[in-house]
C-alpha cells in the first residue's frame, strides 16, 4: 500500500477545499482507487485522499415529475434494490446490478463508477511484478497495449494515444437516458462528461460530482441494458450497450444507442441510430442497422471478436 494522508470531508465545500493543490484524490467506495494504491501501480499516486462518504446529503434516491435524482455517494446496491428505479429506469437498475459482485456493489458508489480508472493491464501493472509500464495514460510516450495484448481494448481507436476503454456499466445508461451530471462547478450532459483522453472524465482536480439527474422517460420509450462479460458474476464488460428507443406509430421516432467498453469513452452508435429512424423494427432492420457498428470499427490485432459481440448485442437490444 502506498502512503497517503487521509481527510474526512464534512461538507461538499470542505471536500472541494481539501482537494485543491497537488496530489489529492477523492475517496468514495474505494473499490477502484484503493486497489491501485495497494498495487503501487501509479507513477504519481495521490498523497492525500479526501473521503466524501461522511458528507450528509450525498446519499439519496429521489423521484419527482421531472425525473430521478441520485446522490453521488449512493451505493450501487441501493440503486439496484430501488423499486422506483426498477420500474421506471429499468436500464439503470440492470446496469447497477451488473456491476462487479455483491460485496463490491455494497461499497461502490454511482459517482465512483462513473469516475473509475481503466482496467488496462499495462496501466494497472503492480510494482512488485518487476515490470512497470510508464504508459501514455501515466504521462509516458507509449501505449503498450497497441503492440501488446489488446483483447479487451478499444475497437474504435485511441484517445491521445491510449486505447484503454471505459468499462463503466452505469455510464452508457446515463447517456442513453439523457442524464445530466451535477458537479460542484456545473451541470453537464452525461454525454459530454467523459473524455478518455488519459483521464476518465472532464472533472477538474477540485471538482466533485454531487448528483445525477435522469429525466423521466417518455411513455413510448423503451430502454434496455445488456452486458457481455466472460463471467457475468464478477467481470467487467467486454462490451455493454444501453438503449432508449422511442416508437411512434410503429416506427422509430428516436433512438439513443450507447456502447461502452469499446472505446476510451462511452460511444453513441449514431450510425445505428440514424439507420433505425423512421423504420419499423424487425429482424432485417435490426440486422442492417447493427451492421453500422462494424463499418466504423477499427479493431486491434486481438479484439476483432468484440466487434462481432457489439454488433450482436446492439441487434438484440433493438429487437428486445
Amino acid at each position: 500500500m502506498e502512503r497517503f494522508a487521509y481527510k474526512d470531508a464534512a461538507t461538499v465545500a470542505d471536500a472541494v477545499s481539501m482537494l485543491k493543490g497537488e496530489g489529492a484524490s477523492v475517496l468514495a467506495g474505494g473499490t477502484d482507487l484503493v486497489n491501485l494504491l495497494k498495487k503501487s501501480a501509479l507513477t504519481n499516486p495521490p498523497k492525500k485522499l479526501v473521503n466524501i462518504k461522511n458528507i450528509p446529503g450525498l446519499n439519496f434516491i429521489r423521484e419527482d415529475a421531472q425525473g430521478l435524482t441520485i446522490g453521488a455517494a449512493t451505493k450501487l446496491s441501493d440503486i439496484a434494490a430501488s423499486l422506483i428505479i426498477r420500474e421506471k429506469y429499468s436500464a439503470l437498475s440492470k446496469a447497477a446490478e451488473a456491476v462487479a459482485s455483491p460485496p463490491l456493489r455494497e461499497m461502490g458508489t454511482i459517482a465512483g463508477n462513473l469516475c473509475q480508472e481503466v482496467q488496462c493491464w499495462y496501466f494497472r501493472r503492480p510494482f512488485l511484478t518487476g515490470t512497470f509500464f510508464d504508459c501514455a495514460r501515466k504521462g509516458g510516450r507509449t501505449c503498450f497495449a497497441i503492440a501488446g495484448d489488446n483483447r479487451y481494448h478499444s475497437i474504435f481507436g485511441g484517445a491521445r494515444g491510449c486505447v484503454a476503454v471505459n468499462a463503466s456499466d452505469i455510464a452508457p445508461v446515463l447517456i442513453a437516458l439523457n442524464a445530466k451530471i451535477k458537479t460542484t462547478a456545473r451541470v453537464i450532459e452525461a454525454e459530454r462528461f467523459f473524455t478518455g483522453a488519459h483521464k476518465t472524465t472532464t472533472l477538474n482536480d477540485d471538482e466533485i460530482i454531487t448528483e445525477v439527474r435522469i429525466p423521466a422517460p417518455n411513455s413510448g420509450a423503451k430502454q434496455t441494458f445488456t452486458k457481455f462479460a466472460l463471467r457475468p458474476t464478477i467481470d467487467f464488460a467486454v462490451v455493454n450497450v444501453a438503449t432508449l428507443i422511442t416508437i411512434e406509430d410503429d416506427k422509430v421516432a428516436d433512438a439513443r444507442i450507447v456502447l461502452n467498453a469499446v472505446a476510451p469513452a462511452p460511444r453513441r452508435a449514431t450510425g445505428v441510430e440514424e439507420a433505425l429512424k423512421g423504420k419499423a423494427i424487425g429482424e432485417s432492420v435490426a440486422e442492417t442497422a447493427a451492421a453500422a457498428i462494424a463499418k466504423g470499427a477499427v479493431p486491434l490485432a486481438g479484439n476483432k471478436y468484440k466487434v462481432q459481440i457489439a454488433k450482436t448485442l446492439v441487434k438484440r437490444a433493438i429487437l428486445n
Binding site: 500500500m1 502512503r3 498495487k39 503501487s40 482496467q119 493491464w121 499495462y122 501493472r125 503492480p126 510494482f127 512488485l128 511484478t129 518487476g130 515490470t131 512497470f132 509500464f133 503498450f144 503492440a147 501488446g148 495484448d149 483483447r151 457481455f228 466472460l230 463471467r231 457475468p232 458474476t233 464478477i234 467481470d235 467487467f236 467486454v238 476483432k304 471478436y305 466487434v307 462481432q308 459481440i309 450482436t312 448485442l313
Partner: protein, 768 residues
C-alpha cells in the same frame, strides 16, 4: 464389515477452518520478525552485469539485502532436479536471468512498505539477450540459443531429449487402417491459482534452522534447503501448517527459493524473516502447467467396428527457462493409455523457452493432453459413424491391458471404465439426448445446444513413505507422519484408515502436524499418492501395531491370536466376546514397559503381476458427460449440465471424495473456459494477466447443474492398502474435452485451441 472406512466423517480441521482459527504460515508472527520483498527481472533473458544495493541498504528500516554475489549462506550451486538438465537454476541467479520475473535480490526490512521502497533503490545493469517464447519457435534453426550447452534449445528428461515411447509398429498399423485422421491441438499455460500464495518464515537458533512453509512436501523441502544452504538435514526443521490450496504448485524449487532467501536474510540479520507473496507475485514466480503446447496426433481405425489400429502423437511443449524436463509427462497418459490402439507411438519435444517453468500442476499434463486426445477419439468415432459412448465402451482399456507409467510399460492394475460410463450416462440421459454427430439437442435462433463426453486417466501414486502409530494407555491412538493436508482431507482420511485397522473410533485417532523434527520421512503429497502411498504407510503401521496388540492380548487373555478379534476399542475372544481387554489395557499392561505399543510402517509402490511379470499400474479413472448451449453470434458457451463418475477403489470418506470431484469440476471448467496465462511476447514474455480479475477462474453460477458420482469398488484398486487409490487429479481432466465435444455437436466447430473463449468459438465458427 468396515465400521469406519467408507462412512462420512467431518474432517478434523473443519471447525478450525470455518471459525477462522486454523493457523496458516501467514499467521505466524514471531517477535522481531522482519519482512522480505524480492526484486524481479524485467527481462525474459539477460545477463546481469552488476547489482548495486548501496542505496537500498542505507534506507532506514532496511536490515539486510541479499544478491547472488552477497548471498550469505546460500551456496553458489544450481538446484539439483529430477531427471532434468537443470541449467542455471539458482536461489539467486549469479550471471543471467531466463524468465521475466525471476528473483534478482531480496530485502529484509522492518515493514513490507520499507522493503518495497528498498527494492526500488536497487540498481541492476542488464545486458538484454534475445528470447524465445514458443516451443516450436524454440526448436527452429534460427532461434536464439538460450544455453550454449543445450543444442537447439532441447530440454531433456532422464537424460533424453525428444522423448519417445512406443508399442507395436505404428507405420504398419496405419497400413491396416481404413481411415486415417490428423489433427493439431493447442493448450495454454495455466496456473495453480491457490488462494494462499507462497508463504515462508525462517528462524535460526544457533546453527539450527526452522522454516515454516506452506507446502506439499516437507521432506523434499528439507533436502532442497540442505543442498542449497550447505547445512546438514538434521539441523533443518521444516514445519507445514494448513495449506490454502496447492494443486501441485507448492512443490519444487520455485517455493524453495523463498525458503533459502528468508533463511539467508534471517542469518544475516539474526532475526526471523517472513516472505508473504502478493497474488500477482504468485502468478509470476510459480512454475505452471506444461504450457503452451502443441499436440499433433495421427490416428487410424477400421471402419467396420471402429477398431483403433494405430496412433502417433507428437507433442511440442514449453519447458520453461531452466530445462527441467517437467513438461514431458504431458504426453504419456493421453498418448499411450486409455484406449486399446494396436500400435502406439508418443514423442515429446520439451523445448527451452524464456517462459515460466513447466511443472507439477493437478493432473501433471493430463488435462492438457486429454483436452486433445479425447477430442481426437471423437473425431475417430465420428469417422467410424459410431456414437462416441459406444466407441469408448468398446475400445477403452480394461485391467491387464498395456498401460504406460511415464516412459515405462506395464499393465492396468484395476479400474472399470464401463461401469463409470454406464453410471454417468444413465444419470445424464445420454441415450435419450444423443441424436448423432453434429446434431444439436436443441436450436433456438443463434443458440444451439449439444452434448459431449470424455474419459480420463491419471497415475495414482508412486513412491515411498513411512509412518508411526502409537496406541496410548487410554486406548487413543496417535499417528505420526508427514501427511500434508492441502484441503483434500488426508489427515482425516489417515485417521479413518488407522481407526479401521485398529478397531477404534475415528474420534480416538489423532494425526500429527507435518514437522520434520519428529515425523518419520514422508513422500509428500503429489501425483495422487496421498492415499496409495502416504496413507498406506499409516495403514501398514496400524497393521503392525495391530499385530503387536494381538500378540500381547493373546498372552494376557491366554488364548491363541487367531481366536481374537479387535473392535470398538477392545480385543476380545471371538467365541466369548466378554473375555476382553480394551486396547489401552493391552498397550499399558506391562508396567515395566511404559512405551506400550509403538511401531512403524512403510509403503513402497511397485506391484508386479506374478503371472505376467508386468508392473501393475494403479490409475484413477473418470468419465464425464456434458450439455452446453453455444451462442453462435457472440461465442458465449453456457454449461447446462455435467455428470461425472470417478473411481477410487474403496472410498475412505465419501463426502470428502465428492469434494474432490467438485473441486475437479471447478478446476476442469476453469481450464476449459477461462484459464490462460497470457505471455506478452512483445514485452519480454511477461505474464500480463497476473491477477484474479484477469486470470479468470469460475464462480459458482458458472458450474451449471453438476452431479458427481463416486464409484466405490475395492476391485478397482487391487494392489493398494485397503484397496484405496487416489482420485483427486483425474477428476478435472475430462471436463474440458467433454465441453469441447459438446460444442462440436452443437455447432459443428471443432475447438482445437483452449481455453474455449467466445473469441475462439467465433473464430472456429468462421465469424471473425
Amino acid at each position: 464389515m468396515s465400521k469406519v472406512l467408507g462412512q462420512d466423517h467431518i474432517k478434523k480441521e473443519m471447525e478450525l477452518k470455518i471459525t477462522g482459527k486454523a493457523i496458516y504460515v501467514g499467521d505466524i508472527d514471531l517477535p522481531g520478525m522482519l519482512e522480505c520483498r524480492v526484486l524481479k527481472s524485467p527481462y525474459a533473458h539477460a545477463e546481469i552485469l552488476s547489482i548495486d544495493t548501496t542505496e537500498a541498504e542505507k534506507l532506514p528500516g532496511v536490515r539486510a539485502v541479499v544478491t547472488a554475489r552477497d548471498s550469505g549462506i546460500v551456496r553458489p550451486e544450481p538446484f539439483e532436479t529430477m531427471g532434468g538438465a537443470h541449467a542455471d537454476y539458482y536461489v539467486l541467479p549469479p550471471e543471467a536471468v531466463y524468465i521475466a520475473g525471476e528473483q534478482i535480490a531480496a530485502v529484509a526490512a522492518e515493514t513490507k512498505e520499507i522493503a518495497r521502497e528498498a527494492i526500488k533503490l536497487i540498481k541492476v545493469d542488464y545486458q538484454p539477450l534475445p528470447a524465445v517464447f514458443d516451443p516450436i519457435d524454440a526448436l527452429k534453426p534460427d532461434a536464439p540459443v538460450i544455453y550454449p550447452d543445450l543444442p537447439n534449445n532441447k530440454a531433456s528428461l532422464f537424460g533424453m531429449t525428444d522423448i519417445s515411447i512406443a508399442r507395436g509398429n505404428v507405420e504398419q498399423g496405419f497400413k491396416d487402417a481404413d481411415v486415417i485422421l490428423q489433427s493439431r491441438y493447442r493448450w495454454p499455460t495455466t496456473a495453480h491459482a491457490p488462494l494462499e500464495p507462497y508463504q515462508t518464515v525462517a528462524q535460526w537458533n544457533g546453527d539450527n534452522l526452522t522454516v515454516w512453509i506452506s507446502t506439499q512436501a516437507v521432506w523434499a523441502a528439507v533436502d532442497s534447503i540442505s543442498r542449497s544452504l550447505g547445512i546438514p538435514t538434521n539441523r533443518i526443521t521444516v514445519i507445514n501448517k494448513w495449506v490454502g490450496g496447492a494443486f501441485g504448485g507448492k512443490l519444487g524449487e520455485n517455493q524453495i527459493i523463498f525458503s533459502c532467501i528468508v533463511a539467508a536474510l534471517a542469518k544475516k540479520t539474526g532475526r526471523p524473516v517472513r516472505s508473504l507473496l502478493e497474488m500477482n507475485e504468485q502468478f509470476i514466480m510459480s512454475h505452471h502447467n506444461c504450457g503452451p503446447g502443441y499436440y499433433d496426433v495421427k490416428g487410424g481405425i477400421k471402419l467396420n467396428d471402429g477398431r483403433p489400429v494405430a496412433k502417433d502423437t507428437v507433442v511440442h511443449v514449453n519447458d520453461g527457462g531452466h530445462a527441467l524436463g517437467m513438461g514431458a509427462p504431458v504426453a504419456f497418459e493421453s498418448g499411450a493409455n486409455v484406449y486399446k490402439f494396436d500400435n502406439i507411438q508418443v514423442t515429446v519435444h520439451p523445448a527451452l523457452c524464456n517462459l515460466n517453468i513447466s511443472g507439477h500442476k493437478r493432473s501433471f499434463g493430463d488435462a492438457e493432453g486429454m483436452f486433445c486426445s479425447e477430442q481426437f477419439v471423437d473425431e475417430l468415432a465420428e469417422a467410424a459413424g459410431m456414437d462416441p459412448l459406444v466407441w469408448r465402451m468398446k475400445w477403452a482399456v480394461r485391467p491387464g491391458d498395456p498401460t504406460a507409467f511415464f516412459l515405462w510399460w506395464g499393465e492396468l492394475a484395476g479400474g472399470n471404465y464401463a461401469a463409470l460410463m454406464t453410471k454417468a450416462a444413465d444419470v445424464f440421459g445420454w441415450k435419450e439426448k444423443w441424436r448423432g454427430w453434429k446434431r444439436p439437442t436443441a436450436v433456438n435462433g443463434a443458440k444451439r445446444r449439444g452434448i459431449g463426453m470424455a474419459l480420463s486417466m491419471h497415475l495414482t501414486g508412486y513412491g515411498a513413505s513411512t509412518s508411526a502409530v502409537r496406541i496410548n494407555h487410554d486406548g487413543t491412538v496417535d499417528v505420526n507422519c508427514a501427511a500434508e493436508d492441502l484441503g483434500q482431507g488426508i489427515k482425516s482420511a489417515t485417521a479413518i484408515c488407522v481407526a479401521e485397522v485398529l478397531g477404534v473410533r475415528y474420534e480416538d485417532v489423532s494425526v500429527s502436524e507435518d514437522n520434520t523434527a519428529y515425523n518419520p520421512r514422508g513422500g509428500g503429497v503429489n501425483g495422487s499418492k496421498g492415499t496409495p502411498v502416504n496413507i498406506a504407510a499409516s495403514i501398514a503401521a496400524a497393521k503392525n501395531a495391530r499385530a503387536i496388540l494381538l500378540e500381547r492380548a493373546a498372552e494376557l487373555l491366554e488364548v491363541k491370536q487367531e481366536e481374537l478379534e479387535v473392535a470398538e476399542g477392545k480385543v476380545f475372544v471371538k467365541e466369548q466376546p466378554d473375555k476382553a481387554k480394551t486396547i489401552g489395557e493391552v498397550a499399558g499392561a506391562d508396567e515395566f514397559d511404559e512405551v506400550g505399543i509403538y511401531t512403524h510402517g512403510k509403503e513402497k509402490s511397485g506391484a508386479v503381476n506374478p503371472e505376467t511379470g508386468q508392473m501393475m499400474y494403479e490409475k484413477s479413472l473418470a468419465a464425464a458427460f456434458c450439455e452446453i448451449e453455444a451462442d453462435t453470434e457472440t461465442g458465449a458457451v453456457e454449461i447446462l449440465k455435467i455428470v461425472m463418475a470417478c473411481d477410487c477403489g474403496a472410498v475412505i470418506n465419501p463426502g470428502a471424495a465428492l469434494g474432490q470431484v467438485d473441486g475437479g469440476l471447478i478446476q476442469g471448467l476453469g481450464g476449459a473456459m477461462y484459464e490462460d496465462l497470457i505471455f506478452d511476447k512483445q514485452h519480454e514474455g511477461i505474464i500480463i494477466n497476473a491477477n484474479f480479475p484477469d486470470y479468470k477462474v469460475p464462480t459458482f453460477p458458472e458450474f451449471g447443474d453438476f452431479t458427481g458420482i463416486i464409484h466405490s469398488d475395492p476391485a478397482d484398486a487391487p494392489t493398494c492398502q485397503l484397496n484405496a487409490k487416489g482420485m483427486s487429479e483425474s477428476t478435472l481432466v475430462p471436463i474440458a474435452p467433454a465441453i469441447a465435444n459438446a460444442i462440436y455437436n452443437a455447432t459443428g466447430a471443432r475447438m482445437k485451441i483452449g481455453p474455449l473463449t467466445p473469441a475462439r468459438v467465433l473464430e472456429a465458427l468462421g465469424k471473425i
